[in-house]
Amino acid sequence: MADVLVPAPGSSAAPLDYLIPGAQEIILKALAARFDGSAAAAAFYPAVQLIAPGNITGPTFKTRSSVAAGGSADVTFGPFLDEDAAATPASPASLPIALGIDFSTTITAGVNNTMNLSDGFGTNDTSVFGTQTVGGRTYLQVKTAGYYRAMMGCQPEDVADTGIITSSWFWNFGAGRVDQSALDTGQFDGGQFAFGGLNRWLIASDTFFAIDHPASTAVIVKINGANLTGNLSSQQTIVALQRQGDYFDNIFPA
């Protein structure tokens, strides 16, 4: 026999009961009702209870979240149902990142060069990043200890657009640049070069972040296999420092 819908002929103050008539037997498939809480002074849960003969209360099925005082809800009770997810899932938090810009530093072959990020600074979290001026140069400053990833892109003036550029740079963390803890080598084809990868560097709090092109690096720039003999003028250099998330911090606590 096909399923049937049994509607209530009117409304009632809660509770509203349906008593299975004599000599009948049913299998419940789904239930629905409107719960008008216009006069309700407090939040409430729409619910269905099964009451056994003898007025013995059996299981109660209620909504997971309540209806606010004065609110109303059209509720469907059925197998495998659950409340709808929030219309807009919470956005994941952005990882803190800072950008520093250097428009003018010339990288001179054979000597130590340090970028001066005095031409621009931006961050999405000033509690993690700032700037710090040391010895006349502006650096990105790390305020909060943790693991960080460093990236850099550069558009040199003096390099042909078709050249392949290989250059080594130090990411230096720490006052006085004494902690030369990391070396990244980048290669890029097309007159620009970029550094940075999946390496993460552990940085203490209140540390400034320097980018050095060390004098000790034998090969500064190669163009089609030949060493560049002149200087490299960084027309536009952008440095990004991004703090890694709790996932890394939990595995490798700072």
């Binding site: 026999m1 037997e25 009702a33």
Partner: protein, 79 residues
């Protein structure tokens, strides 16, 4: 307009006569029935195993006599 909500219940609840299906509103903080909430447009989707008339089951406006004061007696002569 009332907000739509869904909630789960088990599959295959087989009930015979004498059972009640109660639509109710439970106060969030105390769990007691909030009688200020009005239930309307209630319906049951069922497999009618008995095949009989199910339309008489709703008890709209029924008065609960279960908690009458002890000194309340039925009127003489009946109703």
């Amino acid at each position: 307009m009332a907000a739509p909500m869904n909630t789960g219940m088990p599959v295959g609840i087989d009930l015979a006569d004498g059972w009640r299906i109660r639509f109710t509103a439970l106060t969030a903080t105390t769990g007691v029935v909030d009688t200020s909430v009005v239930v309307s447009q209630a319906s049951l989707l069922v497999d009618n195993l008995g095949g009989g008339d199910l339309s008489t089951g709703f008890t709209l406006g029924e008065i609960e006599w279960l908690n009458l004061p002890d000194n309340l007696v039925a009127p003489a002569g009946g109703g």
